[in-house]
Symmetry: C2
Subunit: 437 residues, 2 copies
């Protein structure tokens, strides 16, 4: 597989392009928009993630000889379309919500302004990335709420596709997780990595004591020992005997955590290991984390539920044509009228309306307004659309490890601005109403 | 990102390796096993997928200079571990269930026989791939059952991570889907690709008729016209007027399908378009497909629910050390005793016991038996473990498009062998009991 991302695309994007080229409409100036009709899982707010990844993937969205040959040999599109694709490089404008921004139903998350051909080709890639990454970030921000200030580590790689796992780490980090188990996420996105040992390491040795001695000899007493391979009370006793009372932490990966954690804390304190922390990692989701709020847990490791969006593994975002220029160069709003899937046509701009205390009160969507005309917006409204691509030039601030770090800071600000209702874990209405202006 | 897959790994695999090297146990001969304690979503059987992908990813699991430098600079492991990793290439044996095989609780899906160091490093990669791909295949086989012989197309790329989407196409195809929308899945795995047009193509034009004319002019009357952008009855009438009564198909992507499809079939027949097929694509899962069993639908397109495992987005497989050699070279079975997460230690071999009619009756797991000694197994038992890697050499029959095609045929055979209970869509017990011998 080469580095081109152009084939991470549904075939129909190319057949539509072909028909539009034949019909002379491929160059029609258009506006596409990505948005969600509702929030995943009846949550109170969604979190955008994937923007930085998307921009890098759009940069690599080129049809090289390998792709063009395959399209020709497989009769996917005709020769004029293949010529068009050979020269393809996205040259339009893209505005969007930043990574880490909160969103609500009908928020115009991404606005793509380009020819029909250039914009339609990106549909699948845009949705793949934003749907998965935002699903993970939207689950992650709730776990951060439930953890109430205690650190969370992402360790779900084994429960997600091996490439998706790297994206999941990034989304979780943006939403407030502190670390990841995934090395590629550490290298690519600059996320702190963590991890010490699994049950297999204990089972490799004659007994738990030998395993702990081997680990402490290499990693030092500051390490985290996994104490639940056999009997937990015996495991804790052995851990402190081997590592001393300055053992960094013990990890629990099974059992009835709310009671177990109290027992283990008492045991550690009785052994004099007052500074030894307790980390728990057993099939946690936001509800299990919330249940542990009053328990003496120091940190959490979250896997399956995080990388699968805690019940909502795709954010349900769609990408629609919302406006096109007619023969006179005038913009025409367009929208389908399908049952249960209606859309609002037209160019959009969005702001978050805040009250005198700086608390968010409304998601305001201006229809027919572009970012260029947005200087008329009152100071109490925070503009939500950032410039991501200008005439094909990608804004590099969103990319790589620095873009990811910036997004994490942005999310912390955005979270702090939300009203108390946003932090409720139960299903319900969005925390802010979306109003059209 | 280079082509090495070595960083698609949890950090703790490397820290365990480091401690084992220091302690002199990294070369201990070991057996690891991947299995599920239960089936995802209380289904009747699971379907293995990802084996062919896994073997290709293991081939690329090498630590190049870029990886070694990063590990050193980030103090992940010490210099001896880095030396060890520089020379790493998996040199052990792997046996496993083939792609497309059915599985049950405790089925030994993958048996890895290698040194501790070589086997522990692969844990994350093995689980990432098998957990996602098998989740999709396990959902897909149920949709195939529900479709009762009508063809199914996979079109979920937009609702899955952009790389996971390619894996999902492969898993669905193995389980019996006929085609995919994803071009990369077509190229990489040889899956037939399909797709014609989205609502945006209709909205690009002044009206539906112009859009249909443009599409038919390029793709011919054998194409599929999407008729629900505005009014469906008017859309169908326009479609036949533009394309003629030999229009290939119309597609419905919204509405109350069981009644709608009957109306549209009647309308098409009244218009004389008896050969025009109806394909439906509106948020289908196995239950919605089953509801349409008596409706005049010709084919289905399935997206979100397929690529997210229809409620079970990860198969819940785990990877455990089950045996190791002691100082005398004798094999010792090992297993943890954690609450709710007990394992059966020891080397495993598995067969599917069939009755005189060739119907599967039992999943039989031999404990302490290796594939080499399996010639003593009765002819009524079908051996389930295939040789995948022998002393580091990958069996190429599982790879690429030909391996995928072979897996699809294998699954058709495996399905036909299952008892009627296996095809029930409701939650319940596994269709076969797992017995240990």
């Amino acid at each position: 597989m080469n580095t081109s991302t152009a084939f991470r695309t549904d075939r129909y994007e190319l057949t539509m392009l072909e028909a539009a080229i034949t019909h002379g409409t491929a160059d029609t100036p258009c506006m596409f928009e990505a948005f969600g009709r509702r929030l995943p899982g009846a949550r109170r707010y969604g979190v955008v993630a994937g923007i930085g990844r998307l921009l890098e993937r759009i940069r690599d969205f080129r049809f090289a000889d390998a792709e063009l040959t395959w399209l020709a040999e497989n009769d996917v599109v005709n020769a004029s379309a293949i010529d068009w694709l050979a020269n393809y490089r996205f040259s339009g404008d893209v505005w969007g919500y930043a990574d880490g921004e909160a969103y609500f139903p009908e928020s115009p998350l991404l606005v793509v302004e380009s020819s029909f051909g250039e914009g339609v080709l990106l549909e699948t890639l845009i949705l793949s990335i934003l749907n998965y990454d935002s699903a993970v970030a939207t689950a992650a921000t709730r776990m951060v709420t439930a953890a109430a200030g205690r650190p969370l580590a992402e360790m779900g790689s084994r429960r997600a596709n091996e490439d998706a796992a790297i994206a999941a780490s990034r989304a979780a980090y943006i939403a407030g997780f502190s670390a990841t188990s995934n090395l590629e996420a550490g290298r690519t996105w600059g996320i702190p990595t963590m991890g010490t040992a699994a049950h297999s390491f204990t089972l490799l040795h004659e007994n738990e004591e030998e395993a702990f001695r081997a680990q402490v000899a290499t990693a030092g007493p500051g390490t985290t020992l996994l104490v639940d391979t056999y009997d937990i009370a015996a495991g804790v006793e052995t851990a402190i005997r081997v590592a001393g009372t300055e053992l960094g932490a013990i990890r629990l990966d099974s059992g009835d955590l709310p009671t177990l954690v109290v027992d283990v804390r008492n045991q550690l304190d009785l052994l004099g290991a007052h500074n030894t922390k307790i980390t728990v990692t057993s099939d946690l989701d936001e509800y299990a984390i919330a249940t542990l709020r009053t328990a003496p847990v120091d940190s959490y490791g979250v896997g399956t539920s995080l990388v699968t969006g805690s019940g909502s593994p795709a954010a349900g975002l769609v990408y629609k044509l919302v406006a096109r220029q007619d023969g006179n160069g005038d913009w025409v709003s367009v929208a389908k009228a399908s049952a249960g899937k209606r859309s609002v046509g037209g160019r959009k701009y969005a702001t978050r309306v805040r009250d005198e205390n700086g608390l968010a009160r409304q998601e305001k969507v201006y229809v027919g307004l572009g970012p260029e005309e947005a200087n008329s917006i009152p100071a109490s409204e925070r503009p939500l659309l950032e410039r991501l691509i200008t005439a094909g030039e990608i804004d590099e601030r969103h990319l790589g490890a620095s873009g990811t770090s910036r997004a994490r800071e942005h999310h912390a600000m955005v979270r702090a601005e939300l009203p108390a209702d946003a932090y409720r874990l139960g299903r319900g209405d969005p925390a802010l109403p979306t109003t059209f202006a």
